[in-house]
């Protein structure tokens, strides 16, 4: 796999909008062409070469790996709409990392800001630290959010993650989030998304869920009144085929959306 190395020269005061930093844009280009790709610094149109040291070599999309060094916590939209290849970010990263991506893989070695993996359509996003709010969520005004792909967050995800996630059985698309712990409103308006939380979660989990699966292996601070307990289970099969064992209480909901619902919430019994 060919590697392209980017190193941020100096952290900027104003955010950089780097939606051109994707394997799709780099594929088949020479270093000089990559350096000339546009970026937005506040409202000024600049180039990658102005802010990053570029080295290495790019091949076709699937065989291009972008490694980003330096503190890019103020760089937004890295990996936007990418369809293949790999991006490795060795620090914290700014907002919208990997939003609307269709394929490939992004690994963030630090924390990610808000809207990480928003409206993901495929591919994999791995965050080794914590993630901000709206992980894998729909942008404002969209009625269908994350449609496929996997997001793995080792630490905590913020509020309102996985908003309007939508699965498709005929197309075998199962949007999935694995995270260490979660804040409030995880899986709001869920339409088939799968969420597995290793630790504790805050309030209003699965609010307005129409269908989907939420598994919580820790504690929940406050359960919504519109969830009804069905029974206790020892084995959960996720829609993507994965099996989780352990003692769980099974709830159906959210009943505020419809009287009969395919939405399921599992909370570990300790």
């Amino acid at each position: 796999m060919a590697e392209v190395k980017l190193k941020l020269k100096k952290k900027t005061k104003f955010p950089l909008e780097a939606d051109t930093i994707t394997p799709d844009n780099f594929a088949g280009k020479t270093l000089n062409e990559i350096k000339k790709l546009p970026l937005y610094h506040a409202k000024e149109l600049v180039t990658i070469g102005d802010f990053f040291d570029v080295s290495g070599k790019a091949e076709d999309i699937a065989n291009t790996k972008i490694i980003i060094d330096g503190d890019v916590s103020n760089v937004k939209r890295i990996g936007e709409k990418m369809t293949g290849g790999e991006v490795i970010i060795n620090s914290d990263v700014g907002m919208h990392v990997g939003n609307t991506m269709y394929g490939g893989k992004i690994i963030v070695k630090g924390n990610a800001d808000d809207w990480a993996g928003a409206m993901l359509q495929g591919g994999e996003l791995e965050i080794e630290g914590n993630a901000g709010h709206y992980v894998g969520s729909a942008y404002r005004g969209f009625w269908q959010g994350m449609k496929n792909g996997v997001i793995r967050v080792k630490g905590k995800v913020g509020n309102e993650s996985m908003l309007w996630a939508k699965s498709s059985k005929p197309a075998n698309k199962w949007p999935t989030l694995y995270c260490g712990s979660a804040n409030s409103f995880l899986g709001l308006h869920n339409h088939g998304g799968t969420m597995v939380v290793e630790g504790d979660v805050d309030r209003c989990i699965g609010a307005d869920q129409v269908r989907g699966t939420i598994v919580i292996k820790g504690k929940i601070s406050r359960l919504l009144p519109s969830f009804k307990k069905i029974d206790d289970v020892t084995e959960i099969t996720l829609p993507n085929g994965e099996v989780i064992t352990g003692k769980f209480a099974q709830y159906s909901g959210d009943h505020s959306v419809s009287k009969e619902t395919a939405g399921r919430l599992y909370i570990a019994i300790k």
Partner: protein, 237 residues
């Protein structure tokens, strides 16, 4: 009927009301401090009325769950329209907030938090709203029009705001105008000049002039137009 809700548990109550409206028997005996019988009685009243309106204000939008309370209330109104006619109206906290939202919306398609840095309108509260921009210190100059962020915004945002030059178009003595570098006092619309204000239910009202403005105070519109002219001149447009 009076219902006393525990602070910060509005979302749970709206959620329970919607479930009861769907005809679901809930496990809980009380929700947000409200007994289940009261919720059922309330749902009955809501269903039987001929024309209902839910008025909401900052008590709902500025407590825990914020905009999601309204999300739930919108869903409730949508569901109530299966039974009867129902509406939802925001009660605005200050004068002519509805007006600013209206004008933004018919100009750009969005009501607030609009970013023009890429020469087309983008909307994303949490990224482009003034509090977030100030919190992250992503600004270097501030123009305040008829508002008082110094007394309304979070302390962190106000602290960052005072680091940069502030221009205030403001006739009053407010914490913002006291610390502003430039103050442009406008004439009061409806007293010293003509204008339009939007009522809370988005009905535009024509305001008439009663007396002359003191000295050379200009209407807000003219101040902004003259500023724009100068900016265009400087940008070479």
């Amino acid at each position: 009927m009076y219902i006393k809700v525990k602070p910060n548990e509005d979302y749970e109550l709206l959620n329970a009301i919607r479930a009861v409206l769907r005809g679901v028997e809930l496990d809980a005996k009380e929700v947000s401090g409200v007994p289940m019988e009261s919720i059922k009685e309330l749902v009955d009243i809501l269903k039987k009325c001929h024309f209902g309106v839910i008025f909401f204000g900052m008590g709902l939008t500025q407590t825990l769950s914020h905009h999601r309370n309204i999300d739930s209330a919108i869903c409730l109104v949508r569901e109530l329209n299966d039974h009867t006619k129902f509406l939802l109206t925001p009660m605005r906290g200050h004068y002519n907030v509805a007006g600013a939202n209206q004008v933004f919306t018919w100009n750009t398609g969005y009501a607030y938090s609009i970013d023009f840095s890429r020469e087309y309108a983008r909307y994303n509260p949490g990224e482009f709203s003034s509090v977030d921009l100030l919190m992250k210190d992503e600004v270097d100059a501030i123009l305040v029009v008829a508002s008082d962020p110094a007394s309304n915004f979070p302390a962190g945002a106000v602290k960052n705001m005072f680091k940069h030059p502030i221009i205030a178009i403001e006739p009053h003595h407010t914490p913002t105008s006291v610390y502003a570098d430039v103050i442009l006092p406008p004439a009061f619309a409806g007293i010293e000049c003509e204008g339009t204000a939007y009522r809370m239910d988005k009905v535009p009202l024509r305001l008439r002039k009663v007396k002359d403005a003191p000295d050379d105070c200009l209407p807000d519109k003219e101040i902004l137009e003259r500023l724009l002219e100068k900016v265009k001149e400087k940008m070479g447009e």
